[in-house]
């Protein structure tokens, strides 16, 4: 298959801080590739290197055959970048923003106007196009932020956590438009710390933690690593200390791993039914109230848990 992005041994060090360490992966033309990882994992740093903003401390990447270090100008024309933080001019309207970014890619005249109209329709903001961005909601700004990355019809789109901090409706709209773009042939590199997003969108996933790529493959390939494990999610009361409760369950026979995020405890096991009764009994023993219990088939969260012993925060 045709490979469009090829990252080879990317490293980025800031003094003693290792932001990215020896990251290699390939993205095939036409696929959605997700980088899944918790806060500070190195997702933004990886995208910034690939988009020629930072030079890697070591390593290189080829995008459509052009080296990001030796031929950044060619790379910039091929890629579209949607930064994690909204990078737009609040005092300009959505249309003016898109026109400006179009001009930075060398578009002009009629072609530019037509393209701006197309993008506005695509992000569903044709009606509000002539209002200043500062009157927009967070979700609408996110959409314009994506639109600005699409203006020059890039071959590959880099989306860095495009759904952070917005309402479920806008999030849905963004996920749907990413799928739609991909259906029309766009290759997408998508970073997120929401495992459901990675699960819903991607053909292949790279899991990144502490700057290192710890797993790579299709979702089926990744979950196979976990084997036949299942995950038990226990929702506990707000006044319980989740860490203590998690430690408490570690000793229950059949529990392979136990971890805590907020007020949820994730337990991995071979057979969920077998540990259900002892877990509930142990909770009763210690006076811990369990609000509800979910049993999950192997998923990316289980993979992350399996590989790191921690749960991804979401």
């Amino acid at each position: 298959m045709d490979v469009i992005v090829q990252a080879r041994g990317l490293c980025k060090h800031y003094g003693n801080v290792i932001a990215v360490q020896d990251v290699s992966f390939e993205i095939r033309r036409g696929e959605i590739f997700s980088l899944l990882g918790p806060n500070g994992a190195g997702k933004t740093t990886t995208i910034s290197i690939l988009s020629t903003l930072y030079t890697p401390t070591r390593g290189d990447a080829l995008i459509a055959g052009h080296s990001i270090t030796r031929d950044p100008t060619a790379v910039r024309q091929i890629i579209g970048v949607v930064p994690q933080e909204i990078a737009l001019y609040d005092d300009l309207t959505a249309r003016e923003n898109l026109i400006f970014w179009g001009r930075m890619y060398g578009l002009s005249g009629r072609a530019l106007q037509r393209r701006v109209d197309e993008v506005l329709a695509q992000i569903g903001l044709t009606e509000r196009a002539n209002q200043r961005l500062k009157t927009y909601s967070g979700g609408m700004k996110r959409r314009v932020n994506i639109g600005a990355g699409l203006i020059h019809k890039p071959q590959v789109l880099f989306l860095d956590e495009p759904t952070v901090g917005i309402d479920p409706q806008s999030r849905r709209a963004i996920l749907d438009s990413v799928k739609e773009l991909n259906r029309q042939g766009m290759t997408v590199l998508y970073t997120t710390h929401y495992m459901e997003e990675a699960q819903e969108l991607s053909h292949r996933v790279g899991i990144i933690d502490h700057g290192e790529l710890i797993a790579l493959g299709t979702q089926a390939e990744l979950t196979r690593q976990v084997g036949e494990q299942e995950t038990l999610i226990l929702h506990i009361g707000e006044n319980e200390d989740a860490e203590t409760v998690a430690n408490m369950f570690r000793v229950v026979p059949g529990v392979l791993q136990a971890s805590a995020v907020d007020h949820r405890i994730a337990l991995t096991t071979r057979q969920a039914e077998d540990i259900l009764a002892p877990v509930v009994a142990r909770a009763n023993e210690h006076g811990v109230r369990i609000h509800s219990i979910d049993i999950r088939e192997p998923n990316l969260e289980a993979v992350f848990l399996h590989l790191t012993g921690r749960a991804i925060r979401d």
Binding site: S48, S51, T52, L53, Y54, T55, T73, R76, Q77, I79, V81, P83, E85, I86, A87, L88, Y89, D91, L92, E96, F100, W101, R103, M104, Y105, G106, S108, R132, A148, H152
Partner: protein, 423 residues
């Protein structure tokens, strides 16, 4: 190339939508001009801004009538509040007084000045007019400029008279109205008239409250406007705001992520910087033009030769931009630029004579003021206000251009050492 313009235009567009910036750029200078104008006009009790008569010396080595006429003019009661003239016999002594910073300028009328203009005893006048020398004190450019303007005004009247006189004589000869024998008598009559015209009206009247900056052609005392000195000073003061605001916007774009976004498009960092410089330059120019046009209309101020005003504005913004660049390169955040910018704006305002007239201050202070675009700009506007042309702006324009080039080069050198965006 086009991209540079788009980046600059985007900045102008943003500036025009930023109400705070607009208030600082356009409204504040106006209000301060009016406010300070009123305050100084009242407190000064008619002696605007504590303006003192400029000490000058005149050396008259001319035996003819014109030299005497000039002496008479500079000593006339009408000019008594503007210049304080002492008559000195020796040119060397007068120059020494200037060098010792005792006086602002020495006017030296060389021997044969009148003879080079008025035909005497039928002798034809030499082709070359003997020049009056104005020996200026570089530490008091504004005062010296006024003296220069006085002398030039006098000469231009004499010149007009001489040329029309010659034409009349030639025509009269050609028409047979006079014979060559009549010439001496005719010339004598002509010389009388010439001397009379030259001293006819004082070139510059100092009325109650008249300032250095007020245009000489103002006719009645009621015309006088204390804003005439304040308006250019305030325009230059807030020009410093505009240039530092340009630098602020660069750092704000860095913090806001739009700078990074431009840099991942096929646009280079140099293009961004040059584009933003163009934008800031045009904004500053626009600001000055608007302030000048508006004050001409509202306060009825005359700024002088329009071409000169334009040349001076372009030079002022260039010089100020140099400082804007330096402030931006030295600061780390947009907030720091804003704070440093306001501080520099005020210091330059004081140092550069936007509030206090420089010739009242010690010499070292006047030299220090040359570091500010405000001082050079005010010199220039004073020259224009006194009737100077764009070609008389050599010194201030050169000063401002040098300032812009030196500070710009320094900023670029510093900038290359400390990159604004990390890589």
């Amino acid at each position: 190339m086009k991209k540079l313009m788009w980046i600059g235009l985007k900045d102008i567009q943003l500036m025009l939508r930023d109400r705070t910036a607009l208030i600082f750029m356009l409204l504040a200078p106006f209000l301060l001009t009016i406010g300070l104008g009123l305050v100084t006009g009242q407190l000064g009790g008619g002696n605007f801004g504590g303006l003192e008569a400029i000490p000058i010396a005149i050396v008259n080595q001319d035996q003819g009538k014109l030299g005497g006429a000039l002496v008479e003019m500079v000593q006339s009661p009408e000019l008594a509040e503007l210049v304080n003239t002492s008559l000195v016999a020796e040119a060397g002594a007068a120059r020494d007084q200037v060098d010792a910073n005792q006086i602002a300028a020495a006017i030296i009328v060389p021997p044969g000045f009148s003879d080079s203009i008025i035909p005497r005893d039928g002798r034809p006048v030499p082709a070359q007019v003997v020049r009056i020398e104005v020996y200026k004190n570089p530490a008091r450019p504004v005062s010296a400029g006024i003296v220069q303007a006085l002398v030039e005004g006098f000469i231009s009247r004499v010149e007009t008279g001489r040329v029309t006189g010659e034409v009349i004589v030639r025509q009269a000869l050609a028409a047979g109205l006079i014979t060559p024998q009549d010439m001496p008598a005719f010339a004598a009559a002509l010389s009388e008239r010439l001397t009379a015209t030259a001293t006819d009206q004082p070139l510059m009247r100092l009325r109650t409250g008249t300032t250095e900056g007020s245009a000489p052609e103002q006719n009645t005392p009621s015309d006088f406007n204390p804003m005439a000195y304040m308006a250019p000073g305030m325009a230059l003061l807030f020009l410093m705001f505009t240039v530092s605001n340009g630098g602020r916007s660069l750092l704000a774009e860095q913090a806001h992520g739009t700078l990074h976004r431009v840099l991942v498009s096929p646009t280079t960092g140099t293009q961004v910087l040059v584009g933003k410089l163009i934008g800031t330059y045009l904004t500053g120019t626009l600001q000055m033009l608007i302030l000048i046009a508006a004050s001409s209309l509202l306060f009825n101020l005359r700024w002088g030769d329009p071409l000169g005003v334009l040349v001076l504005i372009l030079a002022c913004v260039f010089g100020a931009l140099g400082w804007g660049m330096l402030i931006t390169v030295l600061a780390r955040t947009a907030g720091q630029v804003a704070i440093a910018g306001s501080a520099v704006m005020l210091i330059f305002g004081i140092l550069g004579g936007s509030f206090i007239q420089l010739n009242l201050l010690p010499t070292w202070f006047q030299w220090l003021s040359k570091l500010t675009p405000n001082a050079w700009g005010l010199d220039g506007f004073t020259i224009l206000g006194l009737g100077g042309r764009w070609s008389d702006l050599g010194q201030p324009v050169l000063g401002l251009l040098t300032m812009g080039v030196v500070l710009g080069a320094l900023s670029i050198a510093l900038f290359n050492r400390r990159r604004l965006w990390q890589r």
